[in-house]
């Protein structure tokens, strides 16, 4: 034995409430830029929703028994939640980790890297919850959805935020620069969006693609959100939740290990 052995980067995450002041730091920054941030997050999904919803809605009278724009609304809530969480951990997270050295400043205090990464995860999910709530509010106000179970979408949106924040943190841990994130979007996020039932029912995909579809976390998010916004209780709730939570936990662990390897050298 010649000195201390530093635990492996794969050791279990050590989480604590110390993430709270880090979350509050991000919240304080967001509050200063809240209005443009919310509007920015809303614009993209709303353009899709109304553009495609009305445009394609005129060609396609009904999908799954509802107007196309109603069908699309649930997809857009999930899509916008995923995007919001991903952008936060990728671009903003990378700024804080690598460019502004915010994480370094925090780790100079009695807060460990585990708490910092966990704070990023919860913060991104919180921001995703704001985006998801904003778009939910819009589709409710426009009378596009059935409101009976609509509030159940909020905890779901938070979970979707956690899942995609965790996945994005893996990419952030590996990123040499901002350019790297383009690969994540073009190679993973965009194809997944097209294969997860956001824009059209997955039932119409060829069987070979259906096999892939069932592996994608966004599919399970949509399968829960869509019935809820059509006034129905979703089928197989535990298994969909388990897939989202499983992806989230596994991805967080991997992201934390990669981040420890990157920063605690």
């Amino acid at each position: 034995m010649n000195g201390p052995t530093f635990a492996s980067p794969w050791r279990a995450p050590r989480l604590s409430l110390r993430f709270v002041p880090v979350w509050r730091r991000n919240f304080l920054v967001w509050r200063k830029l809240a209005l443009p941030s919310v509007l920015g997050n809303l614009a993209d999904p709303l353009i899709y929703l109304f553009g495609l919803g009305f445009g394609i809605g005129m060609l396609v009278p009904e999908v799954a028994g509802v107007p196309y724009i109603t069908f699309l609304a649930a997809g857009m809530v999930c899509y916008s939640t995923m995007n919001s969480a991903s952008f936060e951990v990728l671009y903003s997270g990378f700024s804080r980790m690598h460019v502004q050295k915010t994480w370094e400043a925090i780790m100079n205090t009695p807060i460990d890297l585990d708490d910092v990464v966990f704070a990023e995860l919860v913060w991104a999910a919180s921001k995703a919850l704001l985006s998801g709530t904003a778009i939910l509010l819009v589709v409710v106000l426009f009378g596009l959805v059935d409101t009976r179970y609509a509030l159940w979408v909020l905890p779901l949106v938070f979970l979707i935020g956690l899942t995609f924040a965790a996945l994005g943190l893996i990419v952030t841990a590996l990123a040499p620069s901002y350019d790297f994130f383009m690969y994540y979007f073009t190679l993973f996020v965009t194809p997944m969006t097209l294969l997860s039932g956001v824009f059209f029912p997955i039932e119409q995909l060829p069987p070979a693609l259906r096999a892939v579809t069932d592996l994608l976390p966004l599919t399970h998010a949509v399968q829960l959100a869509r019935p809820l916004l059509m006034g129905q209780v979703p089928a197989a709730v535990p298994s969909h939740l388990a897939v989202l939570a499983g992806y989230g936990m596994a991805a967080f662990w991997l992201a934390l290990a990669l981040t420890r390897r990157r920063l605690l050298k």
């Binding site: 730091r25 200063k32 780790m107």
Partner: protein, 329 residues
């Protein structure tokens, strides 16, 4: 400058008397740190005494920052036993950092916040109640000379102001040990002097200070004790006076200019050996290290074309003797 050293030495002696009352804020034994085959810290031992200013002096890439990172539990040592504020590192480094203030080499202030918000947010990382932090903020801003900048955005501050705010931020938890990594690199002379003043004030108040620098004047001004680090090894340790006395002749004569159609190097080859105990030629200048300068100066007075500068030996001479004159990248 020698006056400053005398003052520091006197204070250092009183700190040594008080030392047994307070445990060492940091001890490092046999620290080694390898990245692959590259050993950047190759056996560092040091023990800080409570209340002193200890300076790690070394060229770029000497292992100063890595030593600090290991001491703070931010990097995994390959070998060694470290204790920070009485707690084992890295095992309990997080708890130990409660009592430590850190000024990193690079600016890590939050650019989206005002000065006061930076202090508040940072204080919360220590788990301090907001009322306590709020009560400390005016004093911290005054200490940093930033009273009027309470609500100023970070982008509007000069480099010196940012450094001072970073120093104030490191004091938000009222640390026993303050660790600074090259605190004045990139600052103008006025800003450097202000930082030094503040550090002296803290040391007088009983805070233990550990700082790294590659500026000799910074080390001579501030350090009770210093260590010169190069290639991951400690080459010497002691008070600035001890280090100078132990490693180098007391007087230096720098000789340059024209001699016999050539430069000072030609003169040195012909005459320096009998007149100086040791000499080095670097570029156009011959550095002669002597116990007594009079015979050499008398000789130089008779050499037209040669010019010279006679001065007491300083840390830079020791530093260059121990770490060489080659460029470090």
């Amino acid at each position: 400058m020698s006056g400053a050293i005398a003052e520091r030495t006197a204070r250092g002696a009183s700190a040594a008397v008080a030392a047994p009352l307070r445990p060492a804020p940091l001890t490092i034994r046999g620290l080694r740190k390898r990245y692959g085959d590259n050993e950047v810290v190759a056996g560092v031992d040091l023990e800080l005494r409570a209340g002193e200013c200890f300076t790690l002096l070394g060229p770029n890439g000497a292992g100063k920052t890595t030593t600090l990172r290991c001491a703070l539990g931010l990097a995994a040592p390959s070998a060694g036993v470290l204790t920070l504020c009485g707690l084992p590192v890295p095992a309990r480094a997080r708890e130990a950092r409660r009592r430590v203030g850190i000024v990193p080499q690079q600016d890590t202030l939050d650019p989206d916040f005002t000065c006061a918000e930076n202090l508040m947010v940072y204080g919360r990382y220590f788990g301090l109640p907001e009322a306590v932090i709020a009560a400390r903020i005016p004093g911290l801003l005054a200490f940093a000379g930033l009273e009027g900048k309470r609500d100023a955005r970070i982008q509007t501050l000069s480099g010196g102001m940012k450094r001072r705010l970073t120093l104030a931020r490191a004091l938000v938890n009222e640390p026993e040990l303050l660790v600074l990594d090259e605190p004045t690199t990139g600052l103008d002379p006025q800003a450097r002097h202000l930082i030094w003043d503040r550090l002296k004030q803290l040391i007088r108040g009983g805070t233990t200070v550990l700082l790294t620098t590659h500026f000799m004047d910074e080390a001579e001004r501030l350090a009770d004790r210093l260590a010169i680090l190069d290639a991951g090894r400690m080459l010497t340790e002691g008070s600035p006076r001890e280090v100078i006395a132990a490693h180098i002749e007391p007087q230096v004569v720098e000789v340059y200019g024209d001699w016999n159609g050539g430069g000072a190097d030609g003169w040195a080859a012909a005459h320096a050996a009998p007149l100086a105990r040791r000499f080095e030629v670097s570029g156009e200048t011959a550095f002669c290290y002597v116990e007594q300068a009079a015979p050499l100066l008398a000789h130089l007075a008779g050499q037209s074309g040669l010019r010279y500068l006679h001065r007491p030996a300083n840390l830079e001479d020791v530093f260059l003797k121990l770490t060489g004159r080659e460029l470090r990248d």
